[in-house]
């Protein structure tokens, strides 16, 4: 049985840990709220771009034109795909990184079966470390993105990939990311970015107006396409940041609860030990005095 002193040390250590996890929980709660606001902030921008794209899609839908815009090309066979995997720079967020990486692994294997080579663009130190451990090659890692991704950062990562797709170096670009469904539900998803699927643009309402297009549909489209793709990627980054904070909040809440429980049971054990020692001492005193008389 542990001595009272040992138990006291354990209680102290557990309650110190509890202080840390509780603080982290509170920080994540605050940060996740900011991140959720950012998701809402980018929403109208993304929606408007989508709406414009659909309006334009009707005006410039003839396939002749598609060949003029390299971003609209649809390769017959996908030989090379760039996969952007979005993970966190830090751990202590439960299964957040693991779940995203598992999905990425599955997609890589599936693509390999289909004969597609895969280029991994890893965002987040955790993902890069995991893939290094697995012996998977990471083409490029990006570690400077924190809980407040900026549009400029999204652009810096996405633009080279779009250029390479346009040049025919890549046949597909996809994102593997944690999708923010609601504050209580986040799931890892695969998001194909390129080639542009026909169905994706068709969904949702277009504004239904007959527009004067200045200077001409083609020019607008050549501007609109990259912007809309970069925005989709930016939205993924913002979502991932929110999911990370929520996952950390949940993980830290569990840790705090566990620490609470542990410290409680240690305290009970400590009191029992203390009581046993006192009883023992009293018995010894009584035994001693009886021996004397």
């Amino acid at each position: 049985m542990a001595t009272a002193r040992e138990l006291k040390n354990k209680i102290r250590s557990v309650s110190n840990t509890k202080k840390i996890t509780r603080t982290m929980e509170m920080i994540s709660t605050a940060k996740s709220r900011v991140c959720q606001k950012r998701i809402e902030a980018v929403q109208p921008y993304g929606d408007k771009l989508g709406e414009m794209l659909r309006d334009l899609g009707r005006a410039a839908s003839d396939p002749e034109q598609a060949s003029e815009y390299p971003l609209l090309r649809s390769p017959e066979k996908i030989r090379k795909e760039a996969m952007i995997v979005i993970t966190a720079n830090r751990g202590l967020c439960g299964g957040y990184n693991t779940n995203v990486l598992k999905l990425a692994e599955r997609r890589i294997r599936r693509l390999a079966d289909e004969g597609t080579t895969c280029e991994i663009h890893m965002i987040g130190k955790k993902g890069a470390a995991r893939f290094r451990y697995l012996g998977r090659e990471v083409t490029q890692g990006y570690f400077e993105i924190d809980d407040k991704p900026t549009y400029a950062q999204a652009e810096a990562i996405a633009q080279p990939l779009l250029d390479r797709y346009a040049a025919g170096e890549l046949d597909a670009v996809s994102i593997v990311v944690c999708h923010y469904e609601s504050a209580s539900r986040q799931v890892p998803v695969e998001r194909p970015l390129l080639p542009l699927g026909g169905g994706d643009e068709a969904e949702g309402e277009s504004s239904g107006g007959e527009f004067i297009l200045e200077p001409d549909p083609g020019t607008i489209l050549s501007h609109l396409l990259p912007v809309s793709l970069k925005t989709r990627f930016f939205q993924s980054l913002v979502e991932a940041a929110a999911c990370e904070q929520i996952a950390r909040r949940v993980a830290m809440k569990n840790a705090t609860d566990n620490a609470e429980e542990m410290s409680h049971s240690y305290k009970q054990l400590y009191n029992r030990t203390r009581q046993a020692t006192i009883t023992q001492e009293i018995l010894e005193v009584i035994g001693g005095s009886q021996g004397m008389s």
Partner: protein, 85 residues
């Protein structure tokens, strides 16, 4: 006096929303000015100033890349990069 509804959107959020009497922006091939009851229009914006004239004065920004849409007396400016002057 007739007004139009104007909103300015950026990836970081809504920069402006309200009634305006005149919106002026830099399109890729020249400047465009939008007055109330303009016909539906969709245009790509280049680099340059964006000015919104409202009842209580002018607001102005510098835009780098974006789009402008006019529909039903509503002007939506979608700006990739926006700095307030």
């Amino acid at each position: 006096m007739a007004t139009l509804h104007c909103q300015v959107l950026t990836p970081e959020g809504r920069a402006y929303e309200g009634e305006a009497t005149f919106v002026e922006a830099q399109a890729v091939d020249g400047r465009v000015g939008i007055l109330p009851r303009h016909a539906p229009l969709l245009t790509a914006l280049g680099q340059g100033p964006l000015r919104v004239r409202t009842a209580d004065g002018d607001r102005s920004w510098t835009i780098e890349g974006g789009f402008l849409q006019v529909l039903d007396n509503q002007v939506s400016v979608v700006a990739e990069r926006l700095t307030e002057d």
